[in-house]
Assembly symmetry: C2
């Protein structure tokens, strides 16, 4: 049985493994992610290593073991199912679900999660467009690019967000964006990558920082049809 804290460390390590392609993380990086000091992370890493959940040597890089990864995915599954429940069933707004799901993901009951999954009719994606791992821990990987990578003149469709913070999500709504919205990139400045986009007929200027947190694919890929590749979805 894992403590809430241990679960949070595993989840953070899984997240970091997705972010950096090497699947490895550093102590400082991990600590920053969990809002603790590096010294604290070191202590916990020793404990997680002892429990066979992480591969770790002093001063070395950190990665999850198979067992650790399975546990981490299970937590992510719970988190995303709860987010879906809060959004779809209880009518929470987009920006409210994350912090409550952070608590709910630690509830220990396999039956609860399976029943919830069934009740929600086995959703594949959470309200932020992230894939929900199935009962076996399989995660549907989607090819996607960030809006920042889309060239001027190209069109795309929003499929997910990278940042789940309240402030970011509220800003997304303010700009008129949302999951499954079509976006046309009108212009893009060479100097600072400031983009002008059009969504539902409304034009907005968005910074690179913002655009990097919006995931998109071409409208065909989004609809499950063969990729037109006008924006190279699958690269």
């Amino acid at each position: 049985m894992l403590s809430h804290t241990e679960e949070n460390y595993l989840k953070a390590l899984l997240k970091l493994s997705f972010e950096s392609k090497s699947e490895e993380a550093g102590t400082n990086e991990l600590a920053a992610n969990l809002a603790v000091k590096p010294a604290t992370a070191t202590d916990m890493l020793k404990k997680l290593k002892e429990k066979g959940l992480v591969d770790y040597e002093k001063y070395g890089k950190i990665s999850l073991t198979a067992v650790g990864k399975t546990s981490a995915i299970d937590i992510v599954r719970k988190h995303r199912l709860w987010e879906t429940f809060l959004y779809s069933t209880l009518e929470f707004t987009w920006d409210e679900v994350h912090e409550v799901a952070e608590q709910l993901e630690h509830i220990q009951s396999a039956k609860l999660i399976d029943k919830l999954d069934k009740f929600l009719n086995y959703p594949q994606f959470d309200p932020h467009g992230d894939p929900i791992p199935n009962q076996k821990g399989e995660i549907k990987t989607q090819f996607k690019k960030t809006l920042a990578e889309i060239a001027a003149g190209k069109a795309c469709r929003m499929v997910a967000v990278k940042d789940n913070s309240k402030s970011f999500l509220q800003y997304v709504v303010k700009v008129g964006l949302g999951l499954h919205h079509d976006i046309k990139v009108l212009t893009r400045q060479e100097y600072d990558a400031l983009m002008e986009i059009k969504v539902n007929g409304i034009k907005s200027s968005i910074t690179q920082k913002f655009a990097e947190n919006i995931y998109v694919v071409c409208s065909n890929c989004a609809a499950g049809k063969p990729c037109t590749e006008t924006i190279d979805c699958k690269q």
Copy 2:
């Protein structure tokens, strides 16, 4: 903000205040309820007193302050709403809901509970027949007797259970009993209070220990009609 542990102490104190009419509890009693040693309870009581949640003097009796009681009722509200959700929405069985609700009751989000309450259509009773406090903390008190108090020859209707343990609830089902079932008391032994009852045409022998955990009223009271008082519901 209260810790899970503090919340559990408050909840236990509220429970004890309902059980003994004096509204006061002892340290050992409290400790036994929480499955900790009396020494541990003493430490926590000092802390809860410091926070203004309990009235307590060394070697004296313990009671909740108004603030402590409000918090405790809020936790009970959460617990019972979650039980209702698990039972009605997720189709958990009667005996499974309690232990998961013990975890869910500690989730911190007023919005979550209000949305859940709305989703469940403002239920008044949980799956065990216990009243669910409303948003203001008001608890509907029901006049009820235990089955052990019903004389031979009398009829009554089951409205709640006192014991929420798995083993008890499973036994209740096995005997053919359940909420809102009509019970006829056929015989009652003078010596050991062993009762013979009839439920849905099936006869069973039940011990006093068992009968004391079944709450009943007359069928009129159960249906919201004027009490016939053949079993003195309101005494």
